[in-house]
Subunit: 313 residues, 4 copies
């Protein structure tokens, strides 16, 4: 079933809040998200700043111990302007370089976002570069499910439940798996970026409101521990923690575990294969928890392709 | 001038050791490297284990404050077998997962390396996967220059001088820039891998001896602080430290600094561009110092291409 | 006013929950806490495990931007037995030492706690040590206030709001300052330890239920950012984060800021003094967020004593 | 035998340098050290800055696999002035606080050091504090032995071999144990501080030249892996690494190992005892490698005292 849902309020935590819509495994939802500052497609602020979330969507039959599969069918910026911070965050440069960072009077830049041309552009009147024009690559910065133990976790950060991961790979066409911690899973989404560099090292992408269509599927009895994903070329896992070393441990452990439980590898073969074939990508290195992505290329022969996840077929 | 150099001894530290050959800026050298265990193309151990290095090569005119440009013209495994560890290193998984890792009697695997087919293959008699066959991607794990302050730094680790970075991108065709800390720079190379996953998370790539051809160029008066590189698609910087957070700070700072000093960006424009366009890749997360790579795509329009590094043309 | 409060239910998050009692600045409360597993003075489990908290107490007049001062007037274990884990946590030893840790069938030990003798003792029938007898040093592992942004934060971890800091210095007689984030502050307490080593490196102290008496005072208009404390010899600040490096940054920054705003130091003098006089102590290195304490000795002359915090007199 | 040794040159790395004196196990040496900037008791610069070391002393019979015991018999500043940095290092405060740090024109302060009164004092003409007067607590910031693998490690950092640990506990009367990595151990010492706060958070103690007397003992066949120490109240271990989490792992592992091999504890008893009795202290959080100290109080009953290290009696 295909739902159209227009949000009337938003949440700044992922928690066990009152659902805005009940849907079923297999359903598709078309909705909208506001930007990180709570502004909608008209640029009106309709929610408090800090990655306000659309949702939560209650998915029937989803129970703790299941996995929720979200496919991002369509992600489209729905207004012609986005904004970004301008200055490298002080935590991503050497401590003794912080005082060398530029200190512009206006900390934010307004980009022109042209979805037809597929570009984000910014005039730089002070610079001999004159103008930046970069290809759009729309993504969701913050989305996930209600966490365990009755927690309500700020949309500033991330964890086993997803949240503010700010990973470029969460874009149109990707499938994302979340552990289910509460009845109905309670799926939230928001914080669209028209474009973002790895690491979100200025502290923002090009922040923008979005039209989003997503589909849900409940994988009954399939247990996962951290967010996972899949696209045409890779399966991947996300670890969210500080420092990056710990995020890397979470993502690597989850990948090894996943290869063994879902893809038919024994622990030793999975370990050997990962050693020579694994890839890593950075989500954010700005938020309270950093995000590391561990990827396994499907192209590495029949090995992985022939074991491809049945739920994806 | 093109030199052919056959090493007779090797070093397990990068330091101000007696040069094995004096060469000039613009010269090319064809030589060989032994594998991480000190074994040559015949599989004979000719040096103590631990990434023994060919060199050092003294480059005339290279003085502290200059930058040494090394182009890896050719990297070719020179024997049909390489070896790897099998088990994920305990520091790359969750601490409470360490006891779940496989514990094979034989910790090492011997891979068949076929440079004609371009594959590394390994039989897995115990496994329902039966056999792994992965595409070769030869690279140098450990190379660099003599460090400052009279130090002799173990080839187990890395720093501003390069060393054991274990980054997949250090492969044929790449240009690598090292800060010069001592007269003659003293360039070392070794630790060839037929293939390696990001992070070197089992603690080795597929370790193998190599035939290597490289060219050198001294960039007089050009100061750099960390290893840098360039390939067809990216310019990049390497930060070497623990934790990854600090390696990320070093690489990010060096990229910002490089964009401003060599590519004509003002500090604010460089910061805005990096925020939305930067990419990161992992070198190793196994050695005493981890390695993070900060990359800037050249394809992001005329912006970077028109400022392309004149020394590379 | 002195209140006696007997809890009937407990919370496993610190959040904006319904208050159990409204009190005033200057009041004193005598109450009880259950142990980390939810067991009371009779050893009956009356709450779900995971540091269930007594409270929240609503303190009238406490508003965001104020500071809440809690004095722990009395902390007394109220049953003769406590329990601890036995084995060093895998995250506090070298990753390659994890498989060398002991692996006892029973992971928990039951200690005899004698408040008259002031000892915790444990028989070790397997060991040539025969018996451990250690001096009691009762403390609260987890206490704090409701966090900002509508969050409900698990009692497993800690943050600006306090929480599961597991610092030995939170014992009888200490004064603790918390930032106020919500109206009424909403103070919670629990997780008593009869004794604990620095770092809580086996993952528990000697866990026990307690009789607790505390007094509250609202410091109107005094803003703080992290938990602070004061005892006869030191003023101190707590930073809660991973890695310890970041916890250290939070605690150090808060101390410098505190010295400047409340003790009359200029920024440079505070910096010089801290450089030569500061002390650090570890809270936990086990929980999701670690805890570092930054201490300034009062004994360093008139300098600090003459500026002593007027609210403490 | 008691040697008097007056150094004529100094080293800025700990490595296998030519010994300045050969001594025997049981010998005592009285010598001098210059300050971190290479200045002697007259304030004359006699060595390049960066913790220049007196030594190395070759200790006969010390072989790899042994442990070298150094007792610091006497540490006495030998001039009336020491210097310190003034400003908190940018890496010890929150990244967004770096730009709030004071930025004095003169980065260094000159302290009056009075060994008779036992004080270090500094006038603060700009400050309402007027003057700081702190009790002396002379210590060695950097000392240790030649490392393994032919390395020459900068005196800016530390490792298994000791080096620039900057721990307040390395003061008169302490016994320090170093692993022996090369024949003769090759002991170095320098970098005296008249006083230092935990963490060396301004990047220096009160830097001063010293008269030092130390005694050496070779513990044949006793293997250690990291620096260890002992004073009247504690045995302790030092872990040197970044981040502090890893330094903590090294120190904790070494303490557990030490308790089991030298003090007769089984692994489980050592683990239980450490959990409830261990203490941690910070060495430096400024140098490339940070230093964490893991301490076990001797006072915790007969348990530890009766197992007291026989070599110390």
């Amino acid at each position: 079933m295909h739902h159209s849902f227009q949000p009337t309020h938003y949440f700044n935590t992922l928690g066990s809040h009152e659902p805005v819509l009940k849907i079923k495994s297999g359903d598709t939802v078309t909705t909208t998200t506001v930007d990180a500052a709570g502004c909608n497609h008209l640029g009106e602020q309709v929610a408090p700043r800090g990655n306000p979330q659309t949702g939560p969507f209650f998915i029937e039959d989803a129970e703790p111990g299941d996995t929720l599969l979200i496919r991002l069918d369509k992600l489209s910026p729905n207004r012609p302007q986005g904004w970004s911070a301008k200055v490298l965050a002080p935590n991503v440069v050497n401590p003794d370089y912080v005082t060398d960072l530029p200190n512009p009077q206006d900390r934010l830049a307004t980009w022109q976002v042209d979805t037809k041309l597929g570009t984000a552009s910014l005039d730089l009147p002070w610079s001999n570069t004159k103008r930046l024009e970069l290809p759009l690559e729309p993504m969701l910065g913050c989305f996930g499910v209600a966490p365990t133990r009755g927690q309500a976790i700020s949309t500033a950060t991330s964890g086993e439940h997803g949240g503010n991961m700010d990973y470029r790979g969460f874009k149109e066409g990707v499938s994302v798996y979340f552990p289910v911690f509460v009845s109905g899973a309670l799926f939230f989404l928001g914080d669209g970026h028209a474009l973002q560099g790895d690491g979100e090292i200025v502290g923002t992408g090009i922040e923008i409101s979005m039209d989003v269509t997503f589909s849900v599927q409940v994988l009954k009895g399939k247990q996962s521990f951290w967010p996972r994903g899949e696209n045409d070329d890779f399966i991947f896992t996300a670890g969210n923690a500080r420092p990056l070393d710990q995020a890397t441990q979470h993502a690597t452990t989850e990948m090894h575990h996943w290869l063994c439980t879902d893809f038919g590898f024994d622990a030793l073969t999975a370990s050997i294969l990962m050693g020579q074939a694994v890839r890593y990508e950075l989500g954010n290195v700005f938020d309270p928890a950093y995000t590391m992505i561990c990827k396994m290329p499907k192209r590495f022969g029949s090995v992985l392709l022939e074991h491809v996840h049945v739920d994806q077929k």
